[in-house]
Amino acid sequence: MTQALLDIHVERKTFATTTVLSNIRLQLQPRETVSLLGPSGCGKSTLLRIVAGLERDFEGHLLSDTEQLAFVFQEARLMPWLTVQQNIGFSEDDDYDEAWVAHLIDEVGLTGFADILPKALSGGMAQRVAIARGLYSRPRVLLLDEPFSAVDAFTRMKLQDLLLQLAERHDIALLLVTHDVDEALYLSDRVLMMDTRPSSIRHELTVQLEHPRDRRDPLLARLKAVALGELHSAHVI
């Protein structure tokens, strides 16, 4: 078995007196896509923030190389005073690699928008820029916190396909937080279903389907039924 890109064990994570996460173990293999599925407030975003190193106060251990991680937030979080290309090269100030940025702009389908300010972008376009910014540092792992929850259903499907293409092309593993069952199943190799507070991983679903997948695949429908059943018995829905 190859070396995991990410190995985290959260024994306990508390906010004040509330325990948010307890006893969660998660590994991410190269090129793997894993989704954390659960309702709002179940602590899945907190788990992602711990992995990203944004949250350091927890009991447990984290094995990862932060140099190899990149984060895509729920909102695009572009700097509104910078153009699209400056946002993508943001991590290297003004000395960013222009050719690489131009390449990424083409790859996320924003050719010709390099000098546009974020205010002129739609939500979906802004999220494309955010993904390109995540890819700029050539990460091995992309962490995504409900990245498509703010865009309409059609844009979401397009962005999901784009994300899978990019992950494949750049050899990137994805760890994705979502509350969308369809999204989790369509994108992932493994779906980790989380309990409500204090959260732990309640159930793991493996999606054994090759990419590119068909959204209408009966296996996805069957797995969705299983997932909904689990969520129901966890009193999430």
């Binding site: 990203a52 944004l54 932060t66 937030f73 979080r77 005073w81 943001f90 991590s91 300010l117 974020p118």
Partner: protein, 280 residues
Amino acid sequence: MSSHSKDLSSPRLALSLPSKAPPFNPDWRLRLKGLALPVLIILVLEIIVRIGWLPSYQMPAPSEIALTLGDLAEGALWKHISASLLRVLLGFAIGASLALIFAAWVGLSREAEAYLEPTFAGLRSIPSLAWVPLLLLWLGIDETSKVVLIAIGAFFPVYLNGVAAIRNIDRKLVEVGHMYGFNRRRLVRRILLPAALPGLFPGLRSGMSLAWMFLVAAELIAATKGLGYLLSDGRETSRPDIVLAAIIVLAVLGKLSDGILAGLEKRFLAWRDTFTGTEE
């Protein structure tokens, strides 16, 4: 004929569009609209004074004020303007720079806030003109006391808006910097400073207008030149035309300095996605 079939006769509609195009470009039309009210006021005043409803020794006609301004412009006006302008710019530069430094310090560090903010809040509650006697005692009646008073006047609006601007920065943008492991200096340069800029300009602009206010206060009290001196000179010699001429010059200079700041604001903050008003 129903309105529906009217819509179908669109050639007429299409033809009427070009003729409705504005004769000037819209920017100029907006500016001309801004001139309408002042022109109206001047005309009405001129008429009222000419037909004798207002005594001209109290309210000189606008044309008379224009003549006085013309006379002054050939003589001492430029000396007064340059004296006042120098004081305002110097006082504003000192006050605003100190304010920006302290605002950055207090805004960025809760420790600094705990130490400094109560003191500044106390100093702020002193009406700034209360400093005048003290400044005169300590610094005398020459330039220093005037510049210091103007600096005090400009300080607080810039400081207050500066702190608020930093504290209003979107935490989510700052987190992007943390994600990239930015150190403090880089965080300030790349995220905090540009993100605070929109909140900073209102402070600079009201600081500038307070600087003009305190200039007049300082020059009314003790000065041998400057626009405030011109004001008190006009009062002492019972020349309302001189007083009004000085007021007009102050208005023009105030508007110009604010216009420069507004221009900078527009230039630096073109990226903002804000409501700019409707056409009507």
